[in-house]
């Protein structure tokens, strides 16, 4: 394809010093990244470790296997919402409706599993209906943003009010809907047996190793230099350590014992959405639209379509999160989707390193960010602090994270041109 115009100018020597440059490797890339505003996950991981160490000394019941499982299940719902937020933020947009949208999903799933209601479906079908509905709503909101040009802040703020209103209208009459369906409740309260946990850890590690090897081989076949083989090995080792470590702790817990399904769901979505963001043309276009929408348009990308799909992902993930959050409580009541859920999800994505200004961030930032938020609130809770303190501390952490991001962006502006 490119060969016609790929000006064949034979005899042009290879850029000198290429080999040496490649091996300057890790540090050079890290420097480039920092210079261009990509701080990576290092600061936030250090922060998380500090938080864990702090609470381990502060609260007696914090650093236990049981509490580890608690944190995993607590963060799962928020994390699902945060996954969606990452995509919307990457596009340089915002979605304020996801909190109550997740409430709509909870309400829907509860309604469609309700025995004797005339529309009782199997749990999985109910889940599919709920997530599908949220995806559709996300698509409608996204269309208004992308096609009509109403700012996403306003569209989704309206969504926030509308879906809250719908929830109030429905539940004012019904009060509380109890969820009895096993499939639905299992999303939050099922724990794998010890053996199953080990198998899952082995599968995840094996898959990661397999994919990484595939990439390395692909690069070698294409004759492209493999950067920093040490880093590749370190990454595989790191993944193995984290997965097996997680299972070891979970299996060590007394009540509830074993690896929580909710945690596994988080990992599944983490892998799937990372694939979507980093390995597919769609993901590439999301970054492009967020980075420079005009350049994306000139490159022939259908910007409106990408934006709408982004909002659909946001809606879908709000739906998934809503189901898990409802399952944790086994019921849906008037407070569903409210409280700090929305702000926690957005904070999670931002604390995890996704920029509010679009074009920079990773899917994994949702996981790290929600871990930070949930760990802080869990730790403060365990140490006997009140809700007020939890809000204040979370707020300070959010401010720190955004300040860091803003400084990074200014560095980028300076390094450009």
């Amino acid at each position: 394809m490119s060969s016609d115009v790929d000006v064949a100018a034979p005899g042009v020597p290879l850029p000198e010093g290429d080999e040496a440059e490649e091996h300057a490797g890790i540090w050079r890339r890290a420097y480039d990244n920092v210079k261009t505003g990509n701080l990576g996950i290092v600061p936030i991981v250090i922060g998380l470790v500090l938080i864990v160490v702090f609470f381990s000394f502060k609260a007696t019941n914090f650093f236990t296997a049981d509490n580890f499982n608690n944190i995993v299940v607590q963060m799962a719902g928020t994390c699902m919402l945060a996954f969606g937020v990452v995509f919307v933020l990457l596009l340089g947009e915002i979605d304020l409706s996801i909190g109550y949208l997740s409430g709509i999903a909870a309400l829907t799933v509860a309604e469609f599993q309700l025995p004797g209601s005339g529309h009782q479906y199997p749990g999985l079908v109910a889940i599919a209906i709920a997530v599908g509905l949220c995806t559709l709503i996300g698509g409608v909101q996204g269309s208004i943003v992308a096609r009509v040009g109403v700012p996403s802040f306003v569209v989704t703020l309206a969504g926030l009010l509308i879906w809250q209103g719908v929830i109030l209208q429905v539940l004012e009459i019904k009060g509380v809907i109890v969820i009895q369906d096993k499939w639905i409740n299992d999303t939050a309260i099922y724990y794998f047996s010890a053996a199953a946990g080990w198998i899952i850890a082995a599968v995840v590690t094996g898959l990661y190793t397999f994919v990484t090897l595939g990439n390395v081989l692909g690069k070698r076949r294409a004759g492209v230099a493999i950067r920093s083989p040490l880093l590749v090995v370190a990454k595989v080792a790191g993944i193995a350590f984290v997965t097996f470590g997680t299972v070891a702790i979970s299996n060590h817990a007394a009540v509830p014992n074993g690896l929580p399904l909710a945690g596994v769901l988080v990992v599944i979505f983490l892998i799937g959405l990372t694939y979507l963001a980093k390995r597919t043309p769609f993901g590439r276009h999301v970054y492009a639209v967020g980075g420079n929408a005009e350049a994306a348009r000139r490159a022939g990308i259908n910007v409106a379509r990408i934006r709408i799909l982004g909002f659909m992902i946001s809606g879908a993930m709000a739906g998934v999160g809503g189901v898990i959050l409802a399952a944790r409580l086994n019921s849906v009541d008037l407070n569903v989707g409210g409280g700090t859920l929305l702000l926690d999800a957005i904070s999670a994505a931002v604390i995890g390193g996704t920029s509010l200004f679009g074009g920079r961030g990773e899917v994994r930032s949702a996981v790290i960010g929600s871990l930070v938020i949930v760990t802080v609130s869990n730790g403060l809770d365990t140490a006997g602090y009140k809700t007020g303190t939890i809000y204040i501390v979370t707020g300070v952490i959010l401010l720190l994270a955004v300040t860091l991001d803003t400084i990074a962006r200014r560095l980028q502006a300076k390094s450009g041109r």
Binding site: D4, D6, L14, N33, R279, T280, A288, G290
Partner: protein, 261 residues
Amino acid sequence: MNGTPILQLRGISKSFGSVQALSDVDFEVLNGEVMALVGDNGAGKSTLIKCIAGIHGFDSGEILFDGKPVSIHGPKDAAKLGIEVVYQDLALCDNLDVVQNMYLGREERDWLYRLKEPVMEQRTAETLKSLAVTTIRSIRQPVASLSGGQRQSVAVAKAVQWNSRLVILDEPTAALGVAQTAQVLELVKRLADQGLAVVLISHNLHDIFEVATRITVLRLGRDVGVYERQQTTQQEVVQAITAGIPTKVSGIAETDAEAIL
């Protein structure tokens, strides 16, 4: 230089409200030539290329591509014909790396809808090498960390790697240092040697005399002459830019620019 021009504009007029940006402009480019488009600020250079690129419509006149009349209603139509424009503001995504920018919107993918990164990386390296763009340290670094000349090179490489036949460069050397300017001009020459038609817009006559085959001068929205580089001088071109007289004024028989100057 013979045969039909790849692109030929006949009597293009365009006004923005009461401002006549272009009036009755003729313009042509042949395959394998660098046609420079010069003129003072407000002469209508940008408007003219925007008409060619399909960003503006024009009020009257016609565009012939390969000798056939075509209608260009948008950037996509232009791209379909093989016309690529490298704008002054470059249109690169700062947050993406060189490879990602080169393939933006036309990514290679496999049956799993997966990006073929190694293939794209390798071809990008080849393209840049064949254009002798050697100063970029790593094609996996974000474009934000590149210098102005490097960005310009990437933007040009991006424009020409897709079967394009006519490349329009808008002030490609405006913000560059001496060495980088030389690099970009070298690139421009190489494009023409490949048989591509190149339209070069620039304020810098020195640059133009180094690479152009012919020079079209615009003044106040009219074309005031086409000069063969070999048979003209910078002085003559400057004179045309500042005080050129249209060779063709509606209602008046064609005048000979050479005779007047």
